[in-house]
């Protein structure tokens, strides 16, 4: 793979003979390449070469087999991490490593999880990734209202950098999206020098970090390759002086929901990618989040979705489901759930409140993982607003899926 950054944050990449247009993301999900160019806008042209390299790697990693050639020399340390993590030879080598900056920024999507992370650090600047269309790939997904989300981010009143990018269109299958989950940080990486960043906070919560959430399911993942600090991505970001920080990595989506809706950013919270004036209420994500919100607020489910709706169909089948711990949590706490479309799923779970109370506390190792400069703030916040898990609750996490 040979990557070239040109002015205005344009990235183009060419495949070596070993490379392929099919690959897998770090979560083992099979993906296919659509086009070998994209742009990351709203970023400076003079970032450290290691930042350019990591930003490019978040986009080209799935397609690269043996070698990557950057258009500017990277540090030997970064090349070493790439070799150890992916078995890929990186070059040319010759730059001094980048020193971590002093600030933490929040990769802010506007969803409940990143809002909860933002609440922990009231002074942290936001970096918002805004999808824009690719000049060469037809946009068949106009229902994705990234403009609405960007506007909401502006209304938070926080220090905000909006990065515009079409990098998701480099993915042909399953559909536009991040080639690696870390590609959402491409713009943040390129801004790291300008904002003096030493860490980047993501809204990934316990399900994503410890319970194998997202596209792979149902197992305890202390060595999560994407989000653990000692995993290959964690080490790569650290080598570029931008540590991955998961402020809410130890709490469930029930807690992030409660924190987000109880925060000053409540009017701007939006997890739905489709709605304009409010959440659309009819997509799969709205249904999932409504279950969690209803459970947190202890009220009946309020959704127009009927059991024959495509978003509801998966809950008529057997588990596992994505975000299964939260489904179980919702089933055990929403009054009248047996009369909703989730009724059939009740048979598969222990829906007593005791069985799910561990999801209301923080898994302590998640706090220990937060880099030292930002750990105390997170720990104090968790102590004041959440509380730590007890021994048996910790075991629930560590035997998840076993």
């Amino acid at each position: 793979m040979r990557v070239t950054w040109s002015g205005g944050g344009s990235l183009s990449f060419r495949l070596d003979p070993d490379d392929e247009i099919t690959g897998t993301a770090s979560d083992d999900y099979p993906i296919k390449l659509a086009i070998n160019s994209c742009t990351v806008g709203g970023v400076p042209d003079d970032a450290h070469p290691d930042l350019f390299a990591v930003a490019a790697w978040t986009i080209v990693a799935p397609w690269t087999r043996r070698r990557i050639t950057f258009d500017r020399a990277v540090s030997a340390e970064l090349a070493q991490v790439l070799y150890e993590g992916w078995g890929v030879e990186a070059g040319p080598v010759g730059a001094e490593p980048r020193r971590p900056g002093s600030r933490l920024a929040i990769s802010y999507s506007g969803g409940a999880d990143s809002v909860a992370a933002a609440t922990m650090y009231p002074d942290a600047p936001f970096i918002h990734f805004r999808r824009v269309t690719h000049p060469r790939v037809p946009n068949r997904w106009p229902h994705y209202r990234s403009d609405v989300l960007a506007k909401l981010a502006e209304q938070t009143g926080r220090e905000l950098s909006t990065v515009t990018s079409d990098l998701e269109y480099t993915l042909a299958e399953p559909r536009p999206g991040y080639p690696e989950h870390h590609a959402v940080a491409a713009g943040a990486l390129l801004l790291a020098d300008r904002l003096d960043l030493g860490g980047l906070g993501f809204g990934y919560e316990m399900g994503s970090r410890w319970l194998g959430g997202g596209r792979y399911l149902w197992r305890y993942t202390p060595d999560n390759p994407m989000w653990s600090p000692h995993g290959r991505w964690g080490r790569l970001f650290a080598a570029a002086g931008v540590h991955i920080v998961l402020p809410v990595g130890g709490v469930s989506e029930a807690v992030t929901m409660r924190l987000a809706l109880g925060s000053g950013l409540r009017p701007q919270v939006r997890w739905c990618l489709r709605g304009t004036d409010g959440p659309c209420r009819v997509c799969g994500k709205c249904l999932y989040k409504e279950l969690i919100q209803a459970a947190v607020e202890r009220r009946p489910l309020d959704t127009p979705i009927k059991p024959d709706h495509p978003a509801a169909r998966k809950y008529l089948k057997k588990p596992p489901y994505g975000g299964q711990e939260m489904i179980q949590y919702g089933l055990s706490r929403v009054p009248g759930i047996e009369n909703t479309l989730f009724g059939p799923a009740l048979d598969y779970f222990d829906v007593s409140e005791e069985a799910t109370s561990w999801l209301e506390h923080c898994y302590p190792p998640a706090l220990a993982e937060i880099p030292e400069p930002w750990r105390a703030t997170a720990a104090a916040f968790v102590e004041a607003n959440v509380g730590l898990m007890s021994g048996p609750e910790v075991r629930r996490v560590e035997t998840w899926g076993a």
């Binding site: 040979r2 344009s10 183009s12 060419r14 495949l15 070596d16 003979p17 490379d19 247009i21 296919k32 390449l33 659509a34 086009i35 070998n36 160019s37 060469r136 790939v137 037809p138 068949r140 042909a172």
Partner: protein, 184 residues
């Protein structure tokens, strides 16, 4: 229990004092009547609202009647446009992917060519070095002339000079060609 005789006047005074602290029975009755009236009013309102909801619910499906306005020809056209759009988008996906693969192949060929060229250049250099070695002693007239003659008519030396010329032309061609960007 001990009973104590209390003067009637005092008893009355105490009773009046107590009574003054509580609402009278008639007031209570009035309150209850008012509450009942309130409940009945609300019930009537609920019934009205429910019938209103029912009416709106009935009215809603009737609201969007225009669809049958579409003629069969229009529908065919719309369907065709949709099919065409979808097929075009899908075909374009293939074109873009092929473009990546074509560039991959071009780069591979170029790399192979450059490698071959490098080898040839090295061979030319070797030949030149060799003749230099041979010629230098000749200038100094310290070498047997017959050996020098052999060297000049050496096959490989002739070959190499032709190859070097071709290679030089090729490299000029390469320089003349703009470096295409796949996305320019």
């Amino acid at each position: 229990m001990m009973r104590v005789l209390v003067p009637a006047r005092l008893r009355k005074a105490v009773r009046t004092w107590f009574d003054s602290r509580y609402i009278s029975i008639s007031d209570h009755r009035q309150d209850i009547r008012d509450a009942l009236w309130e409940v009945q009013t609300l019930r009537r309102e609920m019934v009205t609202l429910q019938s209103e909801v029912e009416r709106l619910r009935q009215a809603r499906p009737a609201a969007p009647p225009p669809p049958p306005q579409q003629s069969a020809a229009d529908k065919a056209k719309i369907d065709d446009a949709r099919r065409l759009a979808q097929e075009t988008a899908k075909a374009l996906d293939g074109v873009l992917q092929n473009e990546i693969l074509v560039w991959q192949a071009i780069d591979e060929l170029r790399a192979a060519q450059a490698e071959a060229q490098e080898k040839q250049t090295a061979a030319v250099q070797a030949a030149v070095d060799q003749s230099a070695v041979v010629q230098a002693p000749m200038d100094q007239s310290t070498v047997d002339p017959s050996t020098v003659g052999q060297s000049i008519v050496d096959d490989s030396a002739v070959d190499v000079s032709v190859v070097a010329k071709v290679a030089a032309e090729r490299s000029r061609g390469e320089q003349g060609r703009a470096e295409e960007q796949p996305c320019a």
